[in-house]
């Protein structure tokens, strides 16, 4: 517990410093954040264009797909903003600067995650939120029970935690293979692209894979299906729609274990 507190405090200190530095050049920050927002907006434009030719995709309307898009993008954006720099660890191991982090009184994970904190990545979060809010206003026929209302923020946060766990596992893997960043990218950024679309357009095998192997289906598909009042293509029991926080917690525990194992390995081999 004390270590977690020290980590959060250290993370905050380093992030605050980078934000201060970024804000010294306000205009430059505003431009890059806007650029970031527009770049991520481009892939939503692709979906919008698709719906100008058809009314439904895999049985989902434009507003429904927008809900999927908004939730997964916001989740990934949050994880990317907070932990996206973890993938620099491979480089730090290769050039030996990893050692300088180990002699400071702050957990290494916090130091690497906060290193070069890029506030401009808030662009993706904003873009995701804009799409999400629009989809909530555009959806019709949704029964907004208290549970459904609560499920939206819960799925965004649980989704961010799941993506964060994947980032962490990817970083931990770099202790063994220092150039493995691409594998992790295929799960995070690739997973994001996947979960923007309804599960019904993919093969059952793929949906099974992202439910049981890398649990990306819990980022938004399963809880969103409940909000939209639809059955999931795998026919899983109904409670699974609410399991995202549990799955996220399990993912984080697993990621923590992987990280610790990796760091212990590094400290016994020095490479």
């Amino acid at each position: 517990m004390a270590e977690a507190a020290a980590g959060i405090r250290g993370y905050g200190l380093i992030v605050a410093m980078w934000v201060r530095t970024t804000m010294a050049y306000r205009l430059s920050f505003a431009m890059t954040a806007l650029g970031n927002l527009l770049m991520t907006a481009a892939d939503f434009a692709a979906i919008a264009i698709m719906f100008s030719h058809t009314d439904v995709l895999g049985g989902f309307t434009f507003a429904e797909v927008a809900l999927l898009y908004g939730t997964t993008s916001t989740s990934l954006g949050l994880a990317d903003l907070l932990l996206g720099n973890l993938d620099r660890i491979g480089r730090r191991i290769r050039d030996g600067t990893m050692d300088t982090l180990l002699v400071r009184p702050v957990p290494v994970f916090a130091q690497i995650a906060a290193d070069r904190f890029a506030l401009r990545r808030i662009g993706r979060v904003l873009q995701g939120l804009i799409v999400l809010v629009w989809s909530l206003t555009a959806l019709d026929g949704v029964a907004w029970t208290p549970v459904a209302v609560l499920l939206v923020p819960v799925m965004v946060l649980a989704g961010a935690a799941i993506y964060g766990a994947v980032f962490t596992c990817g970083a931990a893997f770099q202790f063994w293979a220092t150039d493995a960043a691409e594998v992790q990218n295929s799960f995070t950024y690739g997973g994001n692209t996947l979960t923007q679309y309804p599960p019904t357009i993919f093969s059952k095998e793929l949906v099974r894979g992202v439910t049981f192997v890398v649990p990306l289906a819990f980022v938004n598909w399963l809880p969103a299906l409940h909000v939209l009042g639809r059955d999931d293509p795998l026919g899983l029991p109904g409670w699974v729609d609410f399991a995202s926080p549990l799955v996220a917690a399990a993912c984080c525990a697993l990621a923590g274990l992987a990280w610790r194992t990796g760091l212990r390995g590094y400290r016994s081999t020095g490479s």
Partner: protein, 312 residues
């Protein structure tokens, strides 16, 4: 302050043997060394490349976990309580900076202050002292990446000392520095040790670092401690020689003086070797009295030579 007993570090190296087969090799980087450094001592830790110096330092700072042996630094087991130890030691890596590359020096220091929870008055006093003695005044606002190697090294040393560490490790602190920067760094370390009683362990390839700073030298080779004692004793053990180079007025037959041997003659210049433990003064006096001397210089033996002679 530092207690080391039978410290060992064994790395397992996998090598390719044939197409798919891999064989495991054990490499004993540090093989059972023991020593103790009392508070306030300045110790030079030397040895050829790959002798186990860095591995030892990494174990003493908690970066690496030892394979076996007992290890205590300020009463703390480094591998177990790395972050607690971090508050009480300072580390300077000559080859890589601990500063934030893109930030002005002062921003790095401010962050250090909060990271190490340094009380305001201590921080101000230490920063002022370091700034003055290391000549950092005009550099505080400069991003680290724009500093020269010597400036960066001084910046790194200051960063390692802001939190009043009891032990300071320096891994090649003068590597690649010009004469002026070297002198400044040595002077500063000497004062630090005298004023604060900071215990210093430094690795180096530069024998003059050792001569100017350390009363005690430890020599490591192939992971074993080969020598631990005073610098004079090291020269005696290694039978190393200093070289007196004299320029005479004209070409003359080899100089013949007791206590040295003439190893080379080249026109009016002659090279006289004498034991490193002996003083150069009487030799210079005698040569000056009996030969027409124009100029002279004394060359110190190279650290690598000393060590090479020790184990030849």
């Amino acid at each position: 302050m530092i207690e080391v007993e039978d410290l060992e570090k064994v790395f397992v190296v996998r090598r390719r043997a044939g197409r798919l087969r891999r064989t495991k090799h054990e490499v004993r980087a540090v093989g059972g060394i023991s020593f103790a450094v009392p508070r306030g001592e300045v110790v030079g830790y030397i040895g050829p490349n790959g002798a186990g110096k860095s591995t030892t330092i990494k174990m003493l700072t908690g970066i690496l976990t030892p394979s076996s042996g007992r290890l205590r630094v300020v009463g703390i087991d480094p591998a177990r309580e790395r972050t607690r130890l971090a508050r009480r030691i300072g580390v300077v890596f000559g080859q890589r900076t601990t500063l934030w590359w893109d930030l002005p020096l002062l921003d790095s220091y401010r962050l250090m202050r909060r990271m190490y929870r340094i009380p305001d008055d201590r921080y101000r006093a230490n920063l002022e002292r370091c700034t003055e003695q290391l000549g950092l005044g005009e550099l505080l606002e400069v991003p680290v990446r724009q500093l020269s190697l010597g400036q960066r090294m001084r910046g790194d040393i200051a960063a390692a000392l802001l939190h009043d560490p009891e032990v300071l490790y320096l891994d090649e602190p003068t590597i690649g520095l010009d004469v002026l920067s070297k002198a400044k760094v040595r002077e500063f370390l000497r004062e630090l040790n005298a004023d604060r009683g900071t215990t210093v362990l430094l690795t180096t390839h530069d024998l003059s670092d050792i001569e100017q700073l350390c009363r005690r030298v430890m020599v490591i080779d192939h992971g074993r401690l080969m020598y631990d004692g005073g610098l004079d004793g090291l020269h005696a053990v290694g039978e190393s020689e200093r070289m007196l180079v004299v320029d005479l007025e004209r070409e003359l037959p080899p100089i013949d003086v007791a206590g040295c041997r003439t190893v080379r003659v080249e026109g009016p210049r002659q090279w006289l070797a004498f034991p490193a433990g002996a003083s150069a003064a009487p030799l210079v006096a005698e040569v000056a009295e009996r030969w027409p001397l124009v100029d002279l210089s004394v060359r110190e033996p190279d650290i690598e030579d000393v060590i090479a002679r020790m184990y030849a």
